[in-house]
Amino acid sequence: MTYSYAFLDEATKRMIRRAILKAVAIPGHQVPFGAREMPLPYGWGTGGIQVTASIIGRSDVLKVIDQGADDTTNAVSIRRFFARTAGVATTTHTAEASIIQTRHRIPERVLQPGQIIVYQVPMPEPLSRLEPRVVESTKLHALADYGLMQVRLYEDIARHGRSASAYNHPVMVNGRYLMSPSPIPAFDNPKMDRMPALQLFGAGREKRIYAVPPYTSVKSLDFEDHPFDPIRAPHPCAICGATDSYLDEIVTDDVGGRMFVCSDTDHCEERAP
């Protein structure tokens, strides 16, 4: 008994590719698809894995990151999965990868035309916390009725003085669909706007695929008098000295010792002396 190339059978891959094509044609719109059970648990990247499995070819070079790092356990596990089932070359270098599967980050290095970034998405519906009913939220998208989200942002600002969504900050795609950027830090949101690479989003448990084609407008939701203002720890990276990268805070002792280092390990290694 052997498994198909990249695990999924060919009919399933075709079905997923059709969903991806539809998603690319309607930027930001969530396309339902017949997600399969994968040999990794739901919530651990099954959507992203199915998207990657459907687009990956033998000549592709795959990079997998989780929290920005190539060597976090789940990234290791997914990279191994594709090395085993598709026999593809893998890399940790953003510049060398043709497909980058990610959880919670966008690499610091600007992605290039021809590259594809595949996001793992836990909750594809940006309105789910405000309207948990799928039947209702589908209607709100059809009507482009995003008042609920505007009111939530307004209430955040009225109460806290700033938007309280530090990650998974909703974006408007191509001026039409409200979209969850997946739980990336708000710091990464601007990278999505007019990105030269194709952005694909897979949500396995929720069984949706969506996409942002290259060079598409992606605007983080905000107000004219309260423009979108992403946040970053106000430090340089302790290893490479970067002042413009997103940082992880590492607790070094139990008396308040902290060190801040790049979350994007490839970026940091390239810059480190």
Partner: protein, 356 residues
């Protein structure tokens, strides 16, 4: 310090080696065989087949062994295997009325054609630990056998009620339209009853049990009686296109529950009884009965009943009863989330600074 979040590769290998060792337990004791699991932990195997949505006792038993007895993990293993299998086609509808019965009871009649058949049940056992089982002993003597009073399959209780016109008729199935397939197309609401039953049939036993129980305690009560619970073997028949007629490809063990529920009638319908339906692989009455209660609760809107209870809420029930999905998403919280948490941290610090 920074190294502590690195080195995932080696850590994963070591963890898996430890898992294998822990699974085996004390190597001085004989290893549990898959056949032993299949024969002696039959109800665990049945549950894994039902929630794993794959009627294969051998594979389900292997999954139970591999998962160290974690039945949700076992159902997940079976599902992940099942999804790779080619799909040849559908069977004809199973004729559960013609099942070769091991058990059949009705709570609505003292006696009825075909009789009450208790079968291998825990009912009426006293739940006292049998310390004699702790020591290996002889196989028990075979249970006495009895001839059925009447030959042939006993009639269904719901059919007896239907003769009197007291049982609401189920809408006729449409043979030309294939039933929806949850394993190929994503769930969408509002769901047809066929789709709802598919979801419930592989739904988590515990979740459905809790929901069914909640209807009995007043959260969407539907006045249930067990019209009939039956367990036995049903034939699976398929019509291969090259033959054009049905052939029997084997038997599967099923548990079916038909719940009979009071219905006061509406403007267009006279007072009558309605049905909640449960069907599950293997021997699992708890699941079949809970499923029937929840099925009936989900029909509330169709029957014009006041809704609002959790068990009557289709989206709530159907999107949350799959334990493979639920366990994945709940347990994914243990994956690293430090990037998001960092953002929250800086945000809270900024908000506190602004307040002071």
């Amino acid at each position: 310090m920074y190294v502590s979040v690195k080195g995932g590769e080696q850590a994963i290998s070591n963890a898996h080696a430890w898992l294998a060792e822990a699974r085996r337990g004390d190597a001085a004791l004989p290893e549990l065989s898959v056949e032993q699991v299949e024969q002696q932990l039959t109800l665990a195997v049945d549950r894994v087949m039902a929630e794993g949505a794959c009627a294969d006792r051998g594979l389900a038993a292997l999954a139970v062994k591999q998962s160290r007895g974690d039945l949700i993990e076992a159902a997940f293993l079976l599902r992940a295997y099942r999804t790779t299998l080619p799909r040849f086609g559908g069977s004809l509808p199973l004729d559960t009325g013609a099942m070769r019965l091991q058990r059949r009871i009705s709570a609505t009649y003292k006696d009825l054609p075909g009789g009450q058949l208790l079968g291998p049940t825990f009912d009426y056992t006293h739940r006292l630990l049998e310390f004699s089982l702790a020591a290996a002993g002889e196989a028990p003597p075979p249970a006495p056998e009895m001839e059925p009073e009447e030959p042939g399959p006993p009639p269904r209780v719901t059919a007896l009620l239907a003769q009197e016109g007291l049982m609401a008729a189920e809408p006729e199935g449409d043979d030309d339209t294939p039933p929806p397939d949850l394993t190929r197309d994503p769930l969408s609401c509002p769901a047809s009853r066929a789709l709802r039953l598919q979801v419930l049939a592989r739904g988590d036993e515990g979740f459905l049990l809790g929901l069914g129980y909640s209807t009995q305690r007043g959260y969407g009560n539907n006045h249930p009686f067990v019209g009939e619970v039956r367990m036995g073997e049903a034939s699976v028949e398929v019509v291969p296109p090259e033959l054009g007629f049905a052939i029997d490809i084997g038997d599967i063990t099923l548990t079916e529950c038909q719940m009979v529920n009071q219905f006061k009638g509406s403007l267009t319908e006279p007072p009558q009884f309605t049905r909640g339906y449960g069907l599950v692989f293997g021997h699992n009455e708890r699941k079949a009965m809970a499923m029937a209660l929840v099925d009936r609760a989900l029909r509330g809107a169709e029957l014009g009943e006041d809704g609002g209870a959790p068990a009557q809420d289709e989206e709530f029930v159907l999107y949350h009863c799959d334990n493979v999905e639920a366990t994945g998403f709940v347990e994914h919280l243990k994956l690293p989330h430090h990037v998001d948490f960092q953002s929250e941290l800086e945000n809270v610090r900024a908000m506190r600074a602004a307040q002071q």
